[in-house]
Amino acid sequence: MDTKKLEQVTETLWKIPPSGKMRVPVLIFADEALIREMDDKVAEQASNVATLPGIVGACYVMPDAHWGYGFPIGGVAAFDPKKGGVVSAGGVGFDISCGVRTLHTGLKREEVEPVAKELADALYAAVPVGVGSRGQISLSDKEMEAMLQGGAEWAVAQGYGRQEDLERIEERGRMRGAVPGEVSQHARERQRREMGTLGSGNHYLEVQVVDEIYDQKVAEVFGLRQGEIVVTIHCGSRGLGHQIGTEYLKKMQQAAKEYGIELPDRELACAPLDSPVGRSYLGAMRAAINCALANRQIITHLVRQVFSEFFPQARLDLIYDVSHNTCKEETHEIAGQKRNLFVHRKGATRAFGPGHPEIPEAFREIGQPVIIGGSMGTASYILVGTEEGEALSLSSACHGAGRAMSRKQATKTWKGREVVEELARQGVIVRSPSMRGVAEEAPQAYKDVDKVVRAADQAKIAKLVARLGPIVCVKG
């Protein structure tokens, strides 16, 4: 991105002042190196989002942002329903409530490393991954309804996981306001045999070691200790969410036209929050959030079963579960006034600071854990929400590395087998049904996640707590 078009506010904050039809500015959180690497399309897309009715504050862009459809990935935008604010399916993304959860095992690296290969095989056998994989669970219509309404709470009631897990999930494991009746038959059909599956693309299940701690006090509260093993699961709402995204992208094209919303770009399709289509999408999207929460909960159960065969004493307590493709109703303070807003975070993580009532009691004084997934074979990070984040970015932070190279280019550059061998040399065991998939997800096809989290930390939208290095990566 050409920095000449931007106004530099601080070392890690860049501004595009409103011009033309923009109602608010664009604020980009990144250091100069990340800004230079960032696609020009990000600025164009964020500026387009800034023209939408009822947008409040700014269109915020995270350090890992890249070109998406409609909204950039790594984009945050809040809308006020009382000011004609809108909701956009493209502002949430196809993989509704895609997210990450991390469990700590309490095991030391030395205990796990000798059996890492066997553990990798067992996890790969237990958790369905990749295209064409099927879950063990097939839901009846009634069960589907209960799952869409109950989320992880439903999963726990079915025996997947433990009651105390719920406290460590955003929304306490169940998104309120879900309307299963708004979820189409097609969406249900796509989900029927996909419960408890990981999916493909950048989704993974990793066994990781806490290899660096940046904030001892916070790490202690999160239960993160140097040299200990954690497990991280990255996946979303599977076929159900994808189908809802597809259907509402289309419905909102029509709705925008009907409500006279001028779209600079057809893929920005949206509908007023206070309209039949807007309300219906919110009901369906919240049901998809529950689907994602239930899905990660079921996978957690499968992972615990595998670990219990190797390490009967390991409990695998959940540290936290975050979603990074959502639109949520939240209260934020704008220019000294508390306002009820609908915050789209597409490829962005909620990062509430200390004292926020949504944060589990155990962490409330220090802030919400913000889990940043790396790409296959690279480090992941745990950060914590900050006091400053609220005013800076409506308590939002980055979500991962973000692609730096297209899939096509990646497969031209690497072979899957070579990627697996190279990672093995670096001590990372990869298990995947597709070597081409592995090539497309090669670590070098992504931005440097280290730079991304450092920029977030420097910008104070979240603070670094710990780094997690992969030992085993199971991917679709």
Partner: protein, 140 residues
């Protein structure tokens, strides 16, 4: 252009599909092959089963194209199938398509990635010189 063909085009996080043909129908069918090629090599997919698709259509070929690809994505997902031959017919208010393929075999097809849906990004259905082109970006 005597014969249809397809290609992929670059898009940062995702991938674009593009079909060329003498008619819109042929361009759609070629783009269907491009969609399969995102997941696997279409030459590895045997033509064992036929699936029929029928979609309403109001005259906007671009929206119809996205609907068509999404209908293929849906059939791939719920049937766990891959398709390697497409025959498309666009009538007054209706698109009919026949898809031939087989069920996913993970060791044979090595499916690389799941297609979540077709988007309106870089969407275009147009006649260029003597041939038709149909394209858009897929979310994968």
């Amino acid at each position: 252009m005597a014969q249809g063909r397809w290609e992929h085009f670059e898009h940062m996080a995702d991938i674009g599909v593009r079909g060329y043909g003498a008619t819109p129908e042929e361009a759609f069918a070629q783009a269907g092959l491009a969609l399969t090629a995102v997941v696997t090599d279409p030459d590895q997919v045997a033509l064992k089963e036929r699936v029929e698709i029928e979609l309403p259509h109001d005259g906007d070929l671009e929206l119809l194209f996205v609907d068509f690809l999404n209908a293929v994505v849906y059939e791939m997902a719920v049937r766990s199938m891959l398709f390697a031959q497409f025959e498309v017919r666009i009538e007054q208010n209706l698109l009919r398509a026949s898809l031939w393929g087989e069920r996913v075999n993970r060791s044979k097809h090595q499916p690389a990635v799941e297609v979540k849906g077709a988007t309106y990004t870089e969407l275009k259905v147009a006649k260029e010189n003597s041939h038709w082109v149909a394209q858009c970006v897929l979310d994968v």
